[in-house]
Structures are given as C-alpha cells and as structure tokens.
C-alpha cells in the first residue's frame, strides 16, 4: 500500500515541475469532451438517406429549359403544389425514353463510347420508368426542409424570396445531396430552425407573433 502511494506521488512530480502543468490533464480532458460534444456526437445522431431515384434539376431546368412552374406551382387557393406527382412527370415520360432514344441514335456512330454521365442518366431513367411510370406509383421523395407538423409555412407569402435562400436544392442541382436525418427526431438536418425564420422576419419587419408560424 505504502509503496503504491509513493509511486503515484512520484508520477505527479513529472507535471509539478511547472505550476500550470498540473492542470494539463484536466485541460486535455476538457478539450476532448468538447470536441466530442461539438464535432463527433452531432454526427453520430445523423443517418444518411439517399433519394430513391437520381433526379437531376440541372437536366430538366438548365438543359431542357423547363421553368420551375412546370413542376412547382401555386394552386388556385394559394396553396403550394410541392413536388410533382408521377402522373405529371408521365406527361413527358410516358411512352418516350429520352435518354435511351438519344443513346440509340448516337451509338450508331462509329467508335461510340457512352459517357459516364449518359450511362448514369440511362440507368436512372430505366429505373424510374420501370419502378414508377409503368406502375403509376408515387416516388417517395425525401424533402430536406420538412417542418414539424405544428409549423405552418406558406410558400405564397415568400414568393418574392429566391428558393435557395431556404433550400439546398435549386435549378442548378445535378446531384441531390444526401439527406441527413436526425435519429432521435426524424427531422432533416437542413430543416430551417425557428431562430432563422424569426431573424429574417425581424429583419424584414414581418410579424413574429407565435400564431404566424404555428398551428
């Protein structure tokens, strides 16, 4: 017993050479805990989720020249249409395989090597046609921005604000980012927080009464 004690004091002497050094272990432990709490733990809480099919806004908006309103528009009562359903995508996609047709006409040329991007589009289109257009099923799209159901959000009121102020997807997005879902709450990491809504409202002189956003 005695011996053990001696050994311990001995070790401590190493640190005791300078006065602040004896706080060093505490300090390191503190930093490690902070690092864990701030950098590692929040990511442990998130699971990554992929969109069910590769849908590219760039292909449809920039390359095909479709305006946003083809797919995201306001209904007569001012409510927002949200994400288009399979039926409305099918007005273009039913019976016509754009990418497959393009590949077929191009592959006739000699020495044709299918570009990686085209291969990817072909796979996505085939998968999309088989799984959804032909069966008429809805695509279970993931929305990066869904709010808890006690929040009321109106796209009509924010019509004058560009979409990517709040969204991480816009007309130039080619690859949909993964959705980082909080394991505990089930909400996406990109869901706008109340403080962000409120700070813009305050800036723009908008009301921040609770019943503006809550139901």
């Amino acid at each position: 017993m005695e011996e053990n004690k001696k050994e311990k004091t001995c070790k401590c002497k190493l640190f005791a050479t300078c006065k602040c050094c004896k706080y060093l272990p505490f300090f390191i432990g503190f930093l490690v805990t902070l690092g864990f709490g701030w950098l590692i733990f929040p990511n442990l809480m998130l699971t990554d989720k992929e969109q069910p099919v590769w849908f590219s806004h760039k292909v449809h908006v920039e390359e095909q020249g479709e305006p946003c309103e083809t797919c995201h528009y306001f209904n007569e009562d001012g409510s927002f249409s949200g994400i288009p359903n399979t039926e409305s995508c099918a007005t273009c996609h039913e019976g016509s395989s754009y990418v497959a047709d393009r590949v077929e006409s191009e592959s006739g040329e000699e020495g044709y090597v299918m570009p990686v991007e085209t291969k990817r589009a072909l796979d996505a289109e085939t998968e999309y046609m088989e799984k959804y257009v032909e069966t008429g099923k809805e695509v279970p799209w993931l929305v990066y921005q869904y709010q808890p159901d006690n929040v009321f959000f109106s796209h009509k009121a924010h019509e004058s604000i560009t979409c990517n102020t709040c969204h991480i997807v816009d007309g130039a997005t080619n690859d949909n980012p993964v959705l980082q879902e909080n394991k505990l709450t089930g909400y996406s990491k990109n869901t706008m927080k109340m403080a962000e809504c409120e700070s813009c409202h305050a800036e723009k002189g908008q009301s921040n009464a609770c019943y503006v956003c809550h139901k």
Binding site: S79, F152, S154, E159, S207, A209, Y211, K215
Partner: protein, 254 residues
C-alpha cells in the same frame, strides 16, 4: 391590467342563442377539425377530463311550466381583448399579439402548470390528461390543420386559426389584400357546420362583414361583460333572462 392591443383585423363571432337548437354539430365539427381524440381509454363522458374547445351549455329560466323556457349557449374561446390567461402564463406559451386578435396557444412551449385555466372565467381552456389515442382507422382521417397535442399541456379554441392562414394565402393568390378579404374566405368549422345558421363569423372591424353591424344590435351581448375582458365573441338573443344570465347577475341584483 395589460393595455388593450389595437388590431386592424379582429376576428369575432356572433352566436344567436335563439336559433341554437343544442344539436351539438359545432362541437363535433370542432373536434374533427382540430384533431381532438375521442378519449377511448378513459370515460369520454367525464366532463372534467373530456376536451371540448366548443361546448354547448343548457340554460333555463328556473321557472315551472308554463313559464319554463330553456336556451342553449355555445361557448368557444372568447379571444378576449384583455385576456386573463395571457399575463399569468410563466413561459409565454399563450399570447395575444397576432393581427386578427386570436389568442395563441403554443402547446410545445406549454409546461402544463394550468394557471391559464384557473384565470379563464369562461372555462375555455382544457388540459390534456391523456395522450391523444385515435381508434384504428380514424388516425388516417386526421386533419392537417391542427398538430396533435401530447399529454400534459393546455389547449383551447383557436378560431380554426390555420384556416385564417390559408385564407390569407388564397387572398394573395387572387391579388386581394390579405388584411381585407371577403368573409367567406375564412369561416370556422363550427360556423360552417351549424345547421340552423346560429353562428356568424367575420372581422368585427370590417364594415363589409356581417358581424360588424350585428354586434351593434341592442340584443347583442357578451358573456361576463362586466369583468372588462372585452371578448371577441358576441351572443344574440331577444330574451332578456338569457342576457341577464350572460352577465351572471345575482337574483336580487338590479
């Protein structure tokens, strides 16, 4: 006492006590619109624990036949101009600060202390003694207009407030001022479902809405007006004894 806030738009209701048949449609409409669970795990007839944002009371003139008369009085939240419930809330879960004058209730902020219930002279506030449990199948018919409230928080009538927000969107879509749209754009569920048309709903400050003139009738009154809470719900009756009851006069009072 807190100062009365002035609102450009002030939503209000006039309930015609003489037209009310006591059928209870307003109560049912309210419960479906606002996702109030049928309380199947407890005795649903337990008046202390049941939730009914809109409640119909039976009144009578305490006389015997042939003078006997009765009346039904439907009671939503009065959305008082000077609410008694707001200043007592320790966590600012209830406020009266939104244009339209509807007293807000934010259940996730509520800590369930129930001071507001004690303060409200109209018994318009209810405490969730249970988690909302819906019978299988019924959970698929829930309304998107109201979020479910868990056990342990207080809730109350909101004048079907989400309908107001949606009406403003409709007005914006049609290019109408969202602060001044026609009455029929925003009607509460109880108003729409009253078979005898006893409830009229609209903006008390807007001359184009029917409540504007109706509230000026000498037969219009408010409940417990003498408390000075300035409710936004009016009642209408041609019977004096009902009006007297409305202000809770003592029998020997003049």
């Amino acid at each position: 006492m807190a100062a009365v806030k002035d609102f450009k738009v002030k939503w209000g209701m006039i309930i015609d006590v003489d037209k009310c048949t006591g059928c209870g449609s307003c109560m049912i409409a309210c419960q479906t619109e606002n996702n109030i669970a049928p309380m199947s795990e407890d005795d649903a007839s337990n008046k202390v624990r049941a939730l009914s944002w809109m409640l119909v009371y039976e009144l009578n003139n305490e006389k015997t036949y042939p003078e006997y008369e009765h009346a039904y009085l439907a009671r939503p939240c009065m959305q008082c101009g000077v609410p008694a419930c707001v200043p007592v809330c320790p966590v600012v879960a209830t406020e009266k600060n939104e244009e339209g004058g509807i007293v807000s209730q934010i259940p996730p902020r509520c800590i369930g202390c129930r001071y507001c219930m004690a303060a409200c002279p109209y018994h318009s506030r209810y405490f969730n003694w249970h988690d909302p449990i819906f019978p299988v199948g019924m959970d698929k018919t829930l309304s998107p207009n109201a979020a479910l409230r868990p056990r342990g928080v207080v809730e109350k009538c909101s004048f079907c407030h989400t309908r107001y927000l949606k009406a403003k969107d409709r007005a914006r879509q049609e290019g109408i001022d969202p602060m001044n749209f026609p009455q029929e754009y925003y009607q509460t569920a109880c108003t729409q479902n009253c078979p005898s048309g006893a409830i009229v709903f609209g903006d008390l400050n807007n001359p184009e809405h029917s409540v504007y003139e109706m509230k000026k009738s000498p037969n219009a009154f408010r409940l417990l007006e003498k408390l000075g809470l300035d409710p936004q719900v009016y009642y209408y009756t041609e019977r004096e004894w009902v009006r007297k009851l409305g202000d809770n006069y003592l029998k020997d009072e003049k």
